[in-house]
């Protein structure tokens, strides 16, 4: 007698794996589009510019009609980072920021001492930057290095907040892209789940893709944003995209045969997909790995060699 509960559990597990695999692929596509938008629209650059404006605005420069902010951007350390067309850089090291600010304030050729910095700050006209710098050098124990560290920390703290603004902004764009992507591809969770439930072939294909390694070696990561070398992303392959076509897309029948109830169901399916895709690729990747492990654990016991290797991998001493 067949184990009906086992078969049912296996089908449910495979359906879950297939659905999560689709969410993962859509989330990766969504991330790639988002990164492209961010690069094309210069969102990181404008975010950094806003953060610097918040730090250095409301301050007149010393001995000049220019604002301190304008003087900062005219400093060779900063102006040298502008790309052709005077485009704002996307990244600025806290050390560069602090060095430029201290150089502007001290206004002295050659090596500066703490006393030069202190005199320079006192010589600034009243303003937000003067107030902030006076507070920052109070805990510097007359040390130029400590003063620099404090200014770097001031910049880093603001950048942390700027990073929060960027993430919040980026999340909104991600949701907008998820909405467009979901509707354009008709990624209806209800329909996908139904297809996976009813079609063992589609289910098996997606599960196989989700669990098996790629047949021939090829790079599996890419840099969607050329200005972000610290953020390589796992890329979606053509093969994986072709798997999406198994359950996504619009058909003529769906347009013609859709009544009010069908549309309501579809919109509900879209909302579920949008919410899922907005959670991001790392979330779905982690969940997929866990489900695949559960499935593998149920399907085939590991050989002793595999177990040894797995134990070895799981217990390296911390570096």
């Amino acid at each position: 007698m067949p184990n009906v509960n086992g078969l049912l559990n296996s089908t449910v597990l495979d359906l879950g794996i297939g659905l999560i695999f689709i969410y993962l692929l859509l989330a990766i596509v969504c991330t790639a589009i988002n990164e492209w938008f961010s690069g094309a629209l210069g969102l990181r650059s404008s975010n950094l510019a806003n953060a610097i404006r918040q730090l250095l605005d409301n301050q007149q420069g010393s001995g000049s009609a220019q604002s301190f902010l304008d003087q900062f951007y005219a400093h060779p350390l900063i102006s040298g980072m502008m790309t052709p067309g005077n485009k704002h850089p996307a990244y600025l090291a806290s050390r560069t920021f602090a060095t430029a600010v201290m150089d502007l304030v001290a206004n002295k050729q050659g090596t500066i001492a703490f006393s030069n910095l202190e005199e320079g700050i006192n010589g600034l006209p009243p303003g937000d930057v003067k107030t902030a710098l006076l507070a920052l050098i109070q805990n510097a124990d007359n040390s130029l290095q400590k003063a620099q560290k404090n200014i770097e920390q001031w910049f880093d703290d603001t950048m942390d907040r700027a990073s929060g603004w960027y993430k919040s902004h980026s999340q909104k764009i991600t949701i907008a892209i998820a909405v467009l992507l979901t509707v354009a591809t008709n990624a209806d969770t209800v329909k996908i789940a139904r297809t996976l439930w009813q079609s063992p072939t589609v289910r098996a294909t997606l599960v196989e893709k989700a669990t098996s390694e790629t047949a021939s070696p090829q790079p599996v990561v890419e840099y969607p944003d050329k200005n972000a070398p610290l953020k390589p992303h796992r890329k979606v392959t053509k093969d994986e995209l072709s798997k999406l076509q198994l359950v996504l897309g619009w058909s003529e029948e769906e347009w013609k045969a859709s009544d009010g109830k069908a549309w309501l169901e579809r919109v509900l399916g879209w909302i579920l997909t949008i919410a899922a895709v907005s959670l991001g690729a790392p979330f779905w990747f982690g969940l997929l790995s866990k489900l695949v492990n559960i499935r593998d654990a149920g399907n085939k016991p590991k050989t002793s060699d595999e177990q040894d290797k797995s134990d070895k991998q799981a217990t390296p001493k911390a570096a």
């Binding site: 040298g80 980072m81 790309t83 052709p84 850089p89 996307a90 990244y91 600025l92 090291a93 806290s94 050390r95 560069t96 770097e152 880093d156 950048m159 669990t211 098996s212 390694e213 790629t214 021939s216 070696p217 090829q218 790079p219 599996v220 990561v221 890419e222 840099y223 944003d225 050329k226 200005n227 972000a228 070398p229 610290l230 953020k231 390589p232 992303h233 796992r234 990747f285 790995s289 695949v292 492990n293 797995s310 070895k312 991998q313 799981a314 217990t315 390296p316 001493k317 911390a318 570096a319």
Partner: protein, 338 residues
Amino acid sequence: MLTLRKISSFLAVLTLLPSTFQAETLTLSSSFVKQVKNKATVPIHLELDAHLTSPHTIGKGGDDGDIHMAGRADEVQLPMVAEIMNAGLPPEAGSVKIMNQTSSGQIVPVTGVWRIWFEHPSSGDQVQGDSVDVPTNSNPDHVFEIHPITNFDGQDIADSSLIPIAKGQKTYDAYPAHIAFATYEKLKATISASDTAVSITAGKVGYNYTEFVIELAGQPQFASKTDPSDNGIFVLANIYDTDDPEEPVTSDPRRMVFVENTEPAKQLLAKPEGGRMHVLGIPRVNLAEVDAAATSDPVDTLLPYEMIIVAVLPDSDAASQPEPNKPSQPGRKHRQNQ
């Protein structure tokens, strides 16, 4: 005589074959990977066990002017060596002198560019955290290196060391880009991860110092943005052979690693996006890409790598912006001039 030569060649090939196909699995702690993947350098306390007393001569291949030292470090917990570049030059001679005066087993603070490369793999797998045998020579089997050293026992040698390899009239013949990158681009690896570890299996590979031209594909990013303690600068760049300004030698831009306040970094920061530089570089495994690719299921992929830029070389043809219909000059050998 000819037959004897043929037999010798055949025996040599037979001897080399096993090492050519030798593959090793390196298992790193996940926390270590996350800690260093976007950093150029790491500070360590090196227990100095064995070292050369004078630098390599300067010529080509392994005659690279470096000096090797082997040791162990709690921060690494792998078999390792550290190398001073341009060790025969006066600024580095001070460090070499200190090294020679250091007794075996003494701990020396060392900072330098971390480098994982399967150039000297061991016959068995290496697991980070396993006990490390005391090395008995200056170049034991290892895949982890500090290369080049940027600070030795408190002496900052980054700026004086990361320059074209030369001493007096002797200059170094680096591998040409079209040969070295043809190899790097075909390196295969199997990558996998568990909750606590990342494993990389790859075969033996050489081609240390390579001469090439980079074209900046994006803006440089400072590692200090994410880790204030590091002084690395990372940028994506297209790669060209010195003789061919038109055809990149890699399919996509690759990541370049610079160390702040060195001549290569200074010149990088003065270049706009699209600008070109003629450089000397050494490859290392790109752990950021390894981390992004690693899953619980082993993935067969090409070995992710990046290039550590250790010197800026005099301008070559390809370092100038390409001109339409400009004929290439095949076969020309470049040498670095100090």
